[in-house]
C-alpha cells in the first residue's frame, strides 16, 4: 500500500498539522514504508482469532454516579491564552467561529 502526496496533504489537514509542499514527497515515501512494513502482518492467518481489545486481561472499570469533581474554574481556564472572567463565569475565548 502506498500513500501519495495528495493523501499526505489531506491527512495533515485533518490533523491540523502544517506540512510544507517540499515535505510532502518525503513524508509520502516514509508513510508508505511504514504501511508496507505493517502489511506484513496480513500474511498471518487470524481468521479464528478474536480481535484483542486490550493487552490487559481485565474488565472495564465502572464508576458510581456521584458528583466528586468540577468546581475548579480557575484551574480549567488557567492555561487559556485569552480567558475571559467577566463575573458570569470564566470562559475560554477563540476567534469568532460562526457558520
Amino acid at each position: 500500500m502506498s500513500v501519495d502526496k495528495a493523501t499526505v496533504a489531506r491527512i495533515a489537514h485533518l490533523a491540523r498539522i502544517g506540512v510544507g509542499e517540499d515535505e510532502l514527497e518525503p513524508l509520502a515515501a516514509e508513510l508508505s514504508g511504514i504501511l508496507n512494513w505493517i502489511e506484513q502482518l496480513n500474511e498471518v492467518d487470524t481468521e479464528t482469532v478474536p480481535p484483542m481489545a486490550s493487552v490487559h486481561d481485565e474488565a472495564l472499570r465502572w464508576r458510581a454516579d456521584v458528583i466528586n469533581d468540577g468546581g475548579k474554574q480557575a484551574d480549567v481556564v488557567a492555561n487559556a491564552p485569552d480567558g475571559d472572567n467577566d463575573g458570569d463565569g470564566a470562559f475560554f475565548t477563540v476567534p469568532k467561529v460562526i457558520e
Binding site: S54, D84, V94, V97
Partner: protein, 484 residues
C-alpha cells in the same frame, strides 16, 4: 392518506430518517465526576477529563450504562451486552479533546421499533436502527463579544444517547409523531427529560426525495434542530428545494445543512473541502463495555408501564375511548395526574374533567400539567362534590375556575360562596309556587300542550336560586305542580 408531493414531473415521495440526541439523566458525566445540572456558571462543572487535559483518563458512569439499556428496552430494541467505544476525530473550539468518545461499529443497543400515533387516529411502526452512548461537546457562545467566541465546557462530557431511526418516515407529520413518541417513552422511563428548549433533546434530520418505487435519493442532513415545529418546517423547505433542483435537471449534493428559524429555510453548513472524515478508531483508554444478561433483566424488571401498554389498559379496563386514552397517555405527567384523579372514582368522569375543563384552563394559562396550580387530589375533590350531589356539574365548572385562580379546595370555595346545591324539596317548591303564581299565562300554555314552556320555568327557578337548585328535582317537582 397519501403523503406524496405533486411535482411537475410526477409525484414525489419524501424519505426521512432522524438522529435524536437525548441527554441522559444522571448526576455526573459519562466519563467524569463533574455535575450535569443545567444553567451553572461557565466552566464550573468541568473536570480535567472534560477539559481534555493530557493524561486524564475516562471512567464510565454506571448509571449512564443503565439508562442506555433502559432506553433500549423501552424502544423494544436488542441490547448488546458487548459494545465498544470509539474516538470520532474532529477539530472544533468546543471539543477540547479533539475527538468525541462515541460508539461506531458496535453500539450498546441495536435494532428496535416504536409505534407512532398519527392525527387521523392511525398508527405506524417506525424502525430504530441503533442507540449508542457518546459525549456531548461544550457550548460555543457567539454573542458576548464582537470578534470572539466564548467557550463554556459545562456540557462537555455529558452523556448523550444518539437514537438513529431507519429511513421509515414519509412526511413531516410522521417525523413529528416519531420525535414526540421517543420523547414520551424516554420521559416515562426517566432516562431523558426531553426538554428541547434547554437542548437536552435535539435532532438531526435526514431528508431525501424520490419517485415512489425508485431507489433512495441522495440525502441532505439538517443539523441540530431543537423543536418539533422547526423540524417540520425544515422538512417542508428541504422537500421543495430538492424537488425543484431535481425537476430542473440538477442533482442533490450529500451535505450538512443548517436550519434558520428566522427565515424557515436551510443552507449548507460547510463547504465540500471541509467534508468530515472522522477517522473512527477504538478508544485505547477504554476497554469494551460488557455486562451480563442478568444486568439487563434486572433493569427490565424495573421498567414502568409504557404509553402503548397504558393506552390498551385504559381502553380495556377503564372503558375509555381510544382518543381519550391516547391523549391521557401522551405524556407521563398527564397519565400520573389522571390516574390519581381516577383512583376511587368513575374513570370516564375523571377523564372528561382532566382533558376537558382542566386542560382548557391549563391551555389558557399556557401551563403544563406539572405546573398546575391545583393538584390531582383537589380536582378529585371537586368531582366528589358533584357525585354526592353537593353541587351541580354546571356550578362545578365555575368552582374549578376559582380553584385554578386561588389554589383553594373545592369544598372551601363551595362553602364560602354558598354554592351548595339546594336539594331541599320545601325550598324548591317554594320557588316553584312563586313562579307559577306570577305567570298564569305560561302555566296555561303548558297545560295547553306547549311542552317547551317547561324549559322556561326551569330557567326561572335556576335564576331565582342562582343556579343552586338541583336540576333533576326542579324538573320533577315542576311537572307535578304544572299538572292540570
Amino acid at each position: 392518506m397519501s403523503n406524496l408531493v405533486e411535482g411537475a414531473t410526477g409525484r414525489w415521495e419524501v424519505v426521512i430518517g432522524l438522529e435524536v440526541h437525548a441527554q441522559v439523566i444522571s448526576q455526573s458525566k459519562l466519563f467524569s465526576g463533574a455535575a450535569t445540572a443545567f444553567g451553572a456558571a461557565a466552566n464550573s462543572q468541568v473536570s480535567l477529563v472534560d477539559a481534555g487535559m493530557p493524561g486524564m483518563l475516562p471512567v464510565i458512569n454506571e448509571v449512564a450504562v443503565e439508562q442506555a439499556v433502559r432506553s433500549g428496552l423501552g424502544l423494544n430494541a436488542k441490547i448488546n451486552t458487548y459494545s465498544v467505544f470509539d474516538r470520532k476525530n474532529y477539530f472544533y473550539a468546543d471539543l477540547p479533546q479533539g475527538y468525541q468518545i462515541s460508539q461506531y461499529l458496535q453500539p450498546i443497543v441495536g435494532e428496535g421499533v416504536i409505534t407512532v400515533d398519527l392525527e387521523d387516529g392511525s398508527s405506524r411502526d417506525i424502525g430504530v436502527e441503533r442507540l449508542h452512548l457518546e459525549q456531548d461537546a461544550g457550548k460555543s457562545i457567539h454573542d458576548r463579544h464582537p470578534t470572539k467566541t466564548h467557550v463554556d465546557l459545562n456540557r462537555s462530557g455529558v452523556a448523550l444517547m444518539e437514537i438513529v431511526s431507519k429511513p421509515d418516515m414519509r412526511s413531516a407529520e410522521e417525523a413529528g409523531a416519531y420525535v414526540r413518541k421517543v420523547r414520551a417513552i424516554l420521559r416515562y422511563l426517566g432516562t431523558c427529560d426531553g426538554n428541547m428548549e434547554e437542548g437536552s433533546m435535539r435532532a438531526d434530520v435526514n431528508v431525501s426525495v424520490r419517485h415512489p418505487g425508485d431507489e433512495l435519493g441522495t440525502r441532505a442532513e439538517i443539523k441540530n434542530v431543537n423543536s418539533i415545529r422547526f423540524m417540520q418546517q425544515a422538512i417542508h423547505y428541504e422537500t421543495s428545494r430538492q424537488i425543484d433542483i431535481l425537476e430542473d435537471g440538477g442533482s442533490i449534493d450529500q451535505e450538512t445543512r443548517l436550519f434558520d428559524s428566522q427565515t424557515g429555510t436551510t443552507r449548507p453548513m460547510r463547504s465540500k473541502e471541509e467534508a468530515h472524515d472522522y477517522r473512527y478508531f477504538p478508544d485505547p483508554d477504554l476497554l469494551p463495555l460488557e455486562f451480563s444478561d442478568e444486568f439487563v433483566d434486572g433493569i427490565r424488571a424495573t421498567l414502568p408501564e409504557l404509553p402503548d401498554a397504558k393506552k390498551k389498559r385504559y381502553m380495556a379496563e377503564l372503558g375509555l375511548s381510544e382518543h381519550d386514552a391516547q391523549v391521557l397517555v401522551s405524556e407521563r405527567d398527564i397519565a400520573v395526574f389522571f390516574e390519581e384523579v381516577a383512583t376511587g372514582r368513575e374513570a370516564k368522569v375523571a377523564a372528561n374533567w382532566v382533558q376537558g375543563d382542566f386542560f382548557a384552563l391549563l391551555g389558557k394559562a399556557e401551563l403544563e400539567v406539572a405546573d398546575s396550580p391545583i393538584s390531582a387530589a383537589q380536582l378529585g375533590g371537586l368531582i366528589d362534590l358533584i357525585t354526592d350531589g353537593t353541587i351541580s356539574g354546571k356550578i362545578a365548572k365555575d368552582v374549578l375556575e376559582t380553584m385554578f385562580e386561588s389554589g383553594q379546595d373545592a369544598s372551601v370555595i363551595v362553602e364560602e360562596k354558598g354554592l351548595k346545591q339546594v336539594s331541599d324539596t320545601g325550598a324548591i317548591e317554594g320557588e316553584i309556587d312563586k313562579v307559577i303564581a306570577a305567570n298564569a299565562d305560561k302555566v296555561a300554555e303548558f297545560r295547553g300542550g306547549k311542552d317547551k314552556v317547561l324549559g322556561w320555568f326551569v330557567g326561572q327557578i335556576m335564576q331565582a336560586t342562582k343556579g343552586k337548585a338541583n336540576p333533576q328535582m326542579v324538573n320533577q317537582l315542576l311537572r307535578e305542580k304544572l299538572k292540570p
